[in-house]
Subunit: 315 residues, 2 copies
Amino acid sequence: MSADRRLRIAGHREQVFMERTILAVDAGGTKCRARLVAPDGTVLASGEGGACNPSTELRGAIAVLDALVNVLCRQTMPQTERGSVVLSLGVAGLVDVNRRTAFLSAHEGFAEIVAMSDGYAALIGASGGRPARLVILGTGAAGHRLFADGTSIQRDGWGFLGGDRGSGAWLGRRAVEAALKSYDGAAPESLLSQRLVALLGSGEAAILDWLLRATPRDFASLVPEIVAAAEAGDGVADALLEAAADEAAALVRSLEESDGGESEGEPLYLLGGLSELLRARIETRIEQRFDVPQGGALDGCLLAARGQAPQERRR
Amino acid sequence: MSADRRLRIAGHREQVFMERTILAVDAGGTKCRARLVAPDGTVLASGEGGACNPSTELRGAIAVLDALVNVLCRQTMPQTERGSVVLSLGVAGLVDVNRRTAFLSAHEGFAEIVAMSDGYAALIGASGGRPARLVILGTGAAGHRLFADGTSIQRDGWGFLGGDRGSGAWLGRRAVEAALKSYDGAAPESLLSQRLVALLGSGEAAILDWLLRATPRDFASLVPEIVAAAEAGDGVADALLEAAADEAAALVRSLEESDGGESEGEPLYLLGGLSELLRARIETRIEQRFDVPQGGALDGCLLAARGQAPQERRR
């Protein structure tokens, strides 16, 4: 394969795309996964790296991606000179133009860079690039929809302090608030409050210290406690799970844009760490079953780089 | 007045206390206020400094207090050699023993240091040192009660992520969540959501940037928007204010410890930036009027240093 795309004869756009080596990267706030794929679809190398979130830790995100790229390209030299490779990247936190520019321009020498949000990569990976809707419920929460005209929308994904309604961090924070309200004697004790207070620490100083250091992931890590309490019959815990399902159902409905046309027959996916936990509760609310995804976010990155799915273009 | 307390004849504890020069400091997360008071009650000097919160910014808090102390002592030299002065300090964030030690040991050379929480200083300042209850609703929220045996309790004050139920930061965060839910089309639009979204920024990137930098104080600064929307008839905004009043009323009730005895006839105070806003709503809920405080937190620091109020001793 020639590294020089200028020599190609235009006209068969997909053909051109198919002849490129692609480095697909699904970059997340917890870890990155990467796959280097030859034009014929052969996986040349794959690997994992640390957390990559340009909006909260720009320098760290650049370093993590750089290390991952270097390892994979070096493993497969000489056939994967960077100049012949398309980097196709699904990553959160590129909404801000300055941050986007700083992050992408730090990775030089590729034939092309295709960048999209991690949620969009998951959406087109799930649908094979066809119009579809996706709700992701993990530490955070976001909804995505791809329209027939190739444009897309995102709803929520505002993060821990402003939204991520119904997410693990959202659930954990509400559970902690309820538990400390009981601890204060401002609400009745419950199984949930007892379990959580015991988990946060022994005594006021330990609890305050936990709160001072707590990240969204720490709050989301409390979800199994909420589930256990709900299963043991705790009404407060069950109400929290119901409220999360309410939020997720509202997020599904918010993807029905008035100018987006009907979504009848269009697949609807649910992904993320909380999907199994809340699937049935959400399905009851929206009176619809979720579809089974065709592939993951790395597949979405490959599809976008090959021109088999639209590149992300937000309405 | 002699600087050497060892020369005094014991027996008249209050008398001894009254003969000391006191540097009272009300140290808050927004600013510090300090007053240097001679044994006869004459104010020798007073001043203000920056934010002082040992739990979130230990070094900054030490530096701010140090600068304030130095300025006041130097202004009034030679009569206020540090060794003859009692530093009496109301400050948040001293629950953790290590942080408390680090903060207090950084201020050396005083005849004595009397340290209490800022809320306790406000409580005894309000009651003149007598048993009483106090709810503080500002950027954060906490309840305090002093019992007849000299011990006291605190409720809430867990901070922005774990509690501060009904506070300005709590209100602002809930309002932002509601506004972004409307912005996402997952809830109906309201006057509140329109005002807040306009205030957070123009477009998704600006809003995300606001959220990324937002402090509890930033969230609390949105309260006037909530009030304006509620006054214009916005139901969502009014429901938020009602929910905050519910939380504050529950906080008042949580101060009735089962082992604390009746609080009949004991004064009940409401302080903080949200007190005027929520006073009537809370009074309706608790079927009781709040009392008028006798003095402020600086007065509380002076009382504790003079032995006219118990030093803080938590149950």
